[in-house]
Amino acid sequence: MTDRSPGFATLAVHAGAQPDPTTGARATPIYQTTSYVFNDADHAASLFGLQSFGNIYTRIGNPTQAVLEERVAALEGGTAALATASGHAAQVVVFQMLLKPGDEFIAARKLYGGSINQFTHAFKSFGWNAVWADPDDIESFERAVSPKTKAIFIESIANPGGTITDIEAIAAVARKAGVPLIVDNTLATPYLIRPIDHGADIVVHSLTKFLGGHGNSLGGIIVDAGTFDWSKDDKYPILSEPRPEYHGIKLQETFGNFAFAIACRVLGLRDLGPAISPFNSFLILTGIETLPLRMQKHCENTKAITEWLASHPAVAAVNYAGLNGDKYNNLARKYAPKGAGAVFTFSLKGGYDAGVDLVSRLKLFSHLANIGDTRSLVIHPASTTHSQLDDAAKTKAGAAPDLVRLSIGIEDKEDLIADLDQALRRED
């Protein structure tokens, strides 16, 4: 039989999972255990020395988690993956592998507010310095490169504005600078965009959003594209130099094109500790099985709602890359032909007060700080997710004070439009 490549939906259901060897259980079991017995002293020693594949302790790996990791790696077209307790934890682990105190990384200005906070405050206290660049101005990335630059970080579809980033153009800057390109693919999911196909070396996700999809579990993941040569110079000693705690093994030499994922596990998870719980791995894994169906519905609903909003007399502007005439529509056609996602912002002619009013009148949309749920969600970013930024930074991040953000769920679109319609009708 010749090898064939199964489609995305087949991988979403099957990749990484196999009926359980002892019971034959078809669904992936929840291995709710902290630790695993060794066969004998030699087996234990070879596991600890990274000579054998296997389980030691759930802080480093767990069989339910491993299925989740292989599945996301397969969907993204990566060589391996590592799941973490949250998307934020994934980012800490990635940067800890790449940066030493005093090093820099270039980050797109249009990011999830939580990432901007993490980079500005926590990372700064570690001595990791974010240098900001504008994803609408590729040259600003080139200008930001310095001898201290160790990585470039962007979002494929940026939160909250739903703008599309020109991944290939920024990948070219990263290649020229000799540093890896890290892409947060949370809003797109691999169903809409596969950043590795466009030059990303590392992909990160908050699994909490569309991948898990049901708003019930936190999780994050790091996907290794297997494309970056960590040993070409001395910039990434964690991957290229002998590791004292593992008796001097060199990670890239030993693990080849999935060495980064291994480093994140055996150094990052081991030492920093943000392991995902087996139960969350199970719930997210179950969510991923329906990812293609959900993303189709999310995108179909979003297209209908943004078109309806754009023609509503109370609406000043709708920012959605999937709309004809949107500033990012050409990039959306190139990178996300199946749909531009389900998160967007819009502003009302009545300004900030009208936005606050709208949020309070909605009956089906939930007012909360999350995206990528089966349920439709609404928030006012300027007073919540992006509240720690000043007004100028809010606008640069795509969260101007008069904007309302929606995350469209998989309900019937007619009901969502009816809810928006009644909320927009002011009954003074």
Partner: protein, 194 residues
């Protein structure tokens, strides 16, 4: 043949058919990749022979070192070369003098010598370059999935009970390697300094 990427059936066929493997450059130092691979393959039931002139008189996991491929007293199915790219040709030349001729020349992860590969193929041997047999065995048996690695295989059959020292099933359905085409392309670009 194309050595930028391999069909899983090609690798699977090799790992399923060879029984004895001579490892050129096997190291007794237990943190070297060659030691990892030697031990792993021995545990999976392969008859392993360590070849390293610097360690003659000693043994590796109970197997005595030999100085050269030509000092091996039994037929060898596969020669696994744990040397860097510049030291591949002498090992292949030595393998070509063996009687009977080995069936497979395997060059370790990071090692590639297209001229040596062509010579071995002209003599009727199969060649694999820039791969690790331990990683490939772990991938095709899905054992490597325990580390979150993309095995690029699928199966709806009950998994075998993994116990130390057993030969695991390599008969899973392959996903065709397409899922990591980006990694294969990057490896090719590294070996083609154009």
């Amino acid at each position: 043949m194309n050595h930028d990427s391999y069909d899983d059936n090609y690798i699977r066929g090799i790992l399923n058919s060879v029984k004895s493997i001579a490892m050129v450059g096997a190291s007794p130092v237990n943190v070297r990749p060659s030691y990892f691979a030697f031990k792993y393959l021995a545990q999976r039931g392969y008859d392993m022979i360590p070849v390293n002139p610097g360690h003659v008189g000693k043994s590796l996991l109970g197997k005595p070192f030999v100085a050269s491929l030509l000092d091996i007293d039994r037929p060898v199915d596969m020669v696994d070369i744990f040397r860097n790219s510049t030291n591949i040709m002498p090992a292949v030349d030595e393998a070509l003098k063996m009687m009977p001729l080995p069936k497979v020349i395997w060059m370790q992860l990071g090692a590639r010598d297209d001229a040596a590969a062509e010579k071995a193929e002209a003599a009727g041997m199969k060649v694999v370059m820039n791969r690790c047999p331990k990683i490939e065995y772990g991938r095709l048996s899905s054992e490597i999935s325990w580390m979150g690695v993309n095995s690029r295989t699928l199966s709806s059959k009950r998994a075998p009970m993994p116990t130390q020292g057993m030969r695991l099933s390599l008969g899973r359905t392959s996903v065709g390697g397409g899922a990591t085409s980006a990694a294969d392309r990057a490896a090719k670009n590294r070996t083609d300094p154009s």
